[in-house]
Symmetry: C2
Subunit: 239 residues, 2 copies
């Protein structure tokens, strides 16, 4: 937690807030904070700044806020991702949020096992929890939106075209002939397959919808590594 | 396991091998392979190709090998990394190996807790196991070397200069003024700190030894995300 993310429910006044639960405990046990200390804070979908701890009890930390900065610019990327294995899903969500991606579509694919869709981590409160962890890691406040689409073909035929209307689409697929572009630095839609990759039919459908198939070289990377690699080729994080 | 990595002990003849344990079980339970099927294989620190399953028993898979390709080019990067928290360490090792890094120095830092050095994952057999998993993921055969240095100052003063003699050194540190270069594409030494970062004294020592401090923009990333991001800015994976 490099920043404590505050939601509307945490606010107790115009410039005061009350942290409880995980965030209060993190302050005490990891950051070893005490009354009078300051810490980075941010308001969900709003500005960031610092919080000064006025009172610290067993239940809560009461803060006075100075919110004087904007959150970092969002990445202008729509990520269309085959639903990952539940074991990896939370970590992938946190990673995606920490990279500044704000628009996430979880889709089906032939190699997505049916059981993946049963994971409790897809429930709204757990999605939110892991997105918050990613934002707090990266010091960001803008909450990503997650769209869940359990049928591949209707998504690709009926919804993907709108996501490609004003921006290039890319599908990451090992063994294709076009290398991933570098420093694209403008809005784009990126599709990434499951463990084992999209099957040829799926790649063909994505290309037919308007995506360019691109590769990342000879190494096959796990989704949690491929996403940061793709994002870092396409966008300059220092801009 | 996108490739089964064979060590000398797995070979049973000039072009035959015997897979047991995890790799044999993966063939059967995940890849659903049977006699007559082929799979990608590679010889540790040697060529890659395919293995044909001649015989599959409850204990072993007996393969005939055709090794006709080279492993992907190694990344010409020396990675100097503060020892990660044990919970993350295995995953970081696998990620680093999958990215093609061959020279890894695990060093101490003020924010590395003493207990991190006690983890069993630092024992040679476990280091090897996780490096193998990374190589098998990425379809590579060249085994990385891991150097363990539990004292920061002697490492930086006595050993780091040799790692910087013929190549630039970089230290990733949020808040510095120089952005991470893109497409450096030549040998370099990259230093990356622990959770919470190097302390100013450590950054100063690394800079004094010849490293340039660089940043990745306003977002603070976990080590397991920062490493793929840094590597993908510095090197074109498609070259």
């Amino acid at each position: 937690m490099n920043l404590a993310l505050l939601s509307a429910g945490d606010l107790t006044g115009d410039n005061t807030a009350r942290l409880t639960g995980r965030r209060r405990d993190h302050l005490v046990t990891v950051l070893k904070a005490s009354e009078g200390d300051t810490l980075p804070v941010g308001l969900e979908d709003g500005p960031m700044g610092t919080g000064t701890i006025n009172r610290l009890t067993d239940e809560a930390a009461e803060l006075t806020l100075t919110l004087d900065r904007s959150a970092p610019a969002p990445l202008p990327l729509t990520l269309v991702m085959a639903m990952p294995r539940p074991k990896m899903f939370r970590r992938v969500l946190q990673t995606v949020a920490s990279l500044g991606i704000k628009d996430i579509w979880l889709i089906n694919s032939y190699k997505v096992e049916k059981s993946f869709w049963q994971t409790p981590w897809l429930q709204p409160e757990y999605l939110r929890e892991n997105l918050v962890l990613g934002l707090e890691q990266a010091m960001d406040t803008a909450m990503p939106r997650v769209h869940i689409r359990q049928r591949f073909k209707p998504f690709v035929e009926d919804e993907l075209p709108a996501l490609l209307a004003d921006r290039p689409g890319l599908v990451a697929h090992p063994g294709t002939s076009t290398p991933c572009p570098v420093n694209l630095n403008r809005p784009a839609t990126l599709c990434i397959g499951p463990e084992g990759g999209f099957i040829p039919y799926e790649v063909a459908k994505l290309v037919e919808a308007g995506c360019q198939d691109i590769h990342l070289g000879p190494r096959i990377l796990r989704v949690e590594t491929a996403v940061p690699v793709l994002v870092s080729r396409l966008y300059d994080p220092c801009q």
